[in-house]
């Protein structure tokens, strides 16, 4: 019986949470289609497939080899594509992480099949129909996949890991051939230059904009982020001015974030910025201009001088956390 293949991501041999989300999406799709979910685990020899039945896997196929510890694009792509063909799967589901955004297109191109990226909802009751944000979230596109198989990457935080009682039967499969000298080879993963929490993964984000006036004043943003246990974000204006690294940029040419709490300090709310953060659960804005567009999307706004407001906010949050 055909099924859904969830390609799982590991780090140091441990399956990542985003892959539990991918299994949840795969499970929901398989239930609509009336088929099984197989997890495909690609990683080093110590990669564990334990407990994946609880996340919805009927079977766990493990392709394990020392050369697969780091993400090796061509070999990962080959293993996944060959498994799809061998198993006759209807669909491939994977998390839209930096790995998934690279691997998904490779699998789709090798199979000559459609790809739907960064999907936020999917059903399989009348063919496979997905919804995905386009224009960085300024609009949502619904589309039907008209050929089989297909590759679907799912957005982080869009599918909650499930609680199932599936067998999750473990099976070792071939790890494919060795890499060719002509293949691109990942030789190392270096620690990032600043070891801060990634803005795209954080539950709380504190972002600063031009209202900070100078790069040095971002200390206020960092201090508030630290008090809240969140990550630092930045507007395009301050990234383009060289105050902050581009990895912190939130918006249409930066990252799209959906944290529980987003705090915008001195950010007016250009439309390309709003596109990147409007799906946050709670938005707080501090801005001296009461007519700033950011207040139109904010749940809570404070009008005034951020240099007076933010230090007080840091103090009160620290006190609230202690109390």
């Amino acid at each position: 019986m055909p099924g859904v293949l969830a390609v799982l991501e590991q780090r140091d041999g441990v399956v990542k949470r985003v892959s539990h989300e991918a299994l949840a999406a795969a499970r929901a799709l398989a239930d609509d289609l009336g088929c099984d979910v197989h997890g495909l685990l690609i990683g080093p020899p110590n990669t564990s497939g334990d407990g994946l039945g609880e996340y919805g896997a009927d079977k766990v196929l493990a392709s394990r080899d020392a050369e697969l510890e780091l993400y090796q694009a061509s070999r990962y792509g080959q293993i996944a594509a060959e498994q799809v063909t061998a198993g006759g799967y209807d669909a491939v589901v994977l998390a839209a992480t930096s790995l998934g955004k690279d691997l998904g297109p490779r699998i789709a191109a090798r199979l000559g099949c459609p790809l739907a990226s960064d999907v936020t909802s999917l059903t399989g009751t009348d063919g496979i129909v997905v919804t995905r944000p386009v224009f960085a979230g300024k609009a949502n596109r619904r589309m039907k996949i008209t050929t089989t198989p297909s590759v679907i990457s799912v957005r982080t935080n869009a599918f909650a890991p499930g609680s199932h009682a599936r067998p999750g039967v473990f099976e070792e499969i071939s790890a494919g051939g060795e890499m060719k000298p002509s293949d691109a080879r990942t030789v190392a993963v270096k620690a990032p230059e600043n070891a801060a929490l990634d803005v795209a993964e954080a539950g709380i984000v504190v972002s600063g904009g031009r209202g900070l006036k100078e790069a040095e004043h971002f200390k206020l943003v960092e201090d508030l982020a630290q008090a809240l246990g969140g990550a630092v974000g930045a507007s395009r204006a301050v990234v383009d001015a060289g105050w902050r690294p581009h990895s912190e940029q939130v918006g249409q040419t930066g990252k799209t974030v959906s944290p529980n709490l987003y705090v915008a300090l001195g950010i007016s709310g250009a439309i390309q910025h709003l596109a990147g953060m409007r799906t946050a659960k709670v938005i707080v804005a501090v801005n001296k201009d009461p007519d700033a567009p950011i207040f139109k999307v904010a749940d809570y706004g404070v009008v005034g001088d951020l240099f007076e407001i933010v230090p007080r906010l840091i103090e009160e949050i620290k006190r609230a956390k202690e109390g």
Partner: protein, 249 residues
């Protein structure tokens, strides 16, 4: 060194999206179109490599006639010539786009092909990587650093919690992330020169692909918020609301 840069014409980031009458696409009236911002990093990197190693930079674009303007932008930045693969509508299925581009690029004898990491309209982040797979070339996506020595190259890409370092040989494909470089602005001289640079226009037959668009909609409005107050005196009320009402801290 022969380099191709694949570019796309997209609505500017300041565009406020309106849905057209068909309910499936955007209303393009009054929309300002620009070269895809990530493609500017790709063009810049190509120009830097040409300055270092000599050769030719070709800007390749799949799009309607209006995309000639986009190609002229790349030519004004410094690309040597352009190729427009003419399609009235750029398909939403990334594999269909990748196949059309691969067919053009395959014959070009390029040492390096660059793309922006994604186009800010469809947001797929797929086409460059797909072209690499279709042509059987090594590729690295979303790079923030590239070093090329003879026919060997090293690239870096940001991943969650780290920086991957990838080695590969040319010919190859890379896609550019913001941070790779600072794109130059076309100078007046460049704009004048661009008008005289060659621009080939080619026809293409696109296949049907496997994606049918059912609809395009705007995200739901956020529920109305409120101004908690003015100045530092409002902080106590704000913290109280975040703790007891929103329950996020």
């Amino acid at each position: 060194m022969k380099i191709a840069v694949c570019i796309k014409r997209v609505p500017d980031t300041e565009t406020r999206i309106k849905i057209s009458a068909d309910g499936k696409s955007i209303d393009e009236s009054g929309v300002k179109f620009v070269i895809n911002p990530f493609d500017e990093y790709a063009v810049e990197e190509a120009l830097k490599l040409r300055e270092q190693a000599d050769g030719e930079v070709v800007a390749v674009c799949l799009g309607s006639d209006a995309s000639q303007e986009t190609i002229r932008t790349a030519l004004a930045m410094g690309a040597d010539r352009g190729v427009l693969i003419k399609a009235e509508h750029v398909p939403e299925d990334p594999l269909v786009v990748a196949r059309a581009l691969a067919a053009e690029l395959e014959q070009g004898g390029y040492d390096l092909i660059l793309f922006g990491k994604l186009s800010i309209d469809n947001y797929d982040q797929a086409v460059g990587t797909m072209v690499a797979e279709l042509l059987g070339l090594p590729s690295v996506s979303a790079i923030t650093r590239l070093e090329v020595t003879d026919n060997r190259a090293t690239a870096q890409r940001e991943v969650e919690g780290g920086l991957e370092v990838i080695e590969f040989s040319l010919p190859a494909i890379v896609t550019a992330e913001k941070g790779l470089n600072e794109p130059r602005y076309p100078a007046l001289r460049g704009i004048m020169l661009a008008k005289k640079k060659p621009l080939d226009i080619k026809d293409v037959e696109l296949d049907a692909g496997g994606i049918e668009i059912l609809g395009l909609s705007l995200p739901p409005d956020r529920k109305d918020g409120r101004i908690v107050g003015e100045g530092p005196e409002a902080v106590t009320a704000l913290v109280d609301a975040l703790r007891n009402e929103a329950k996020v801290i």
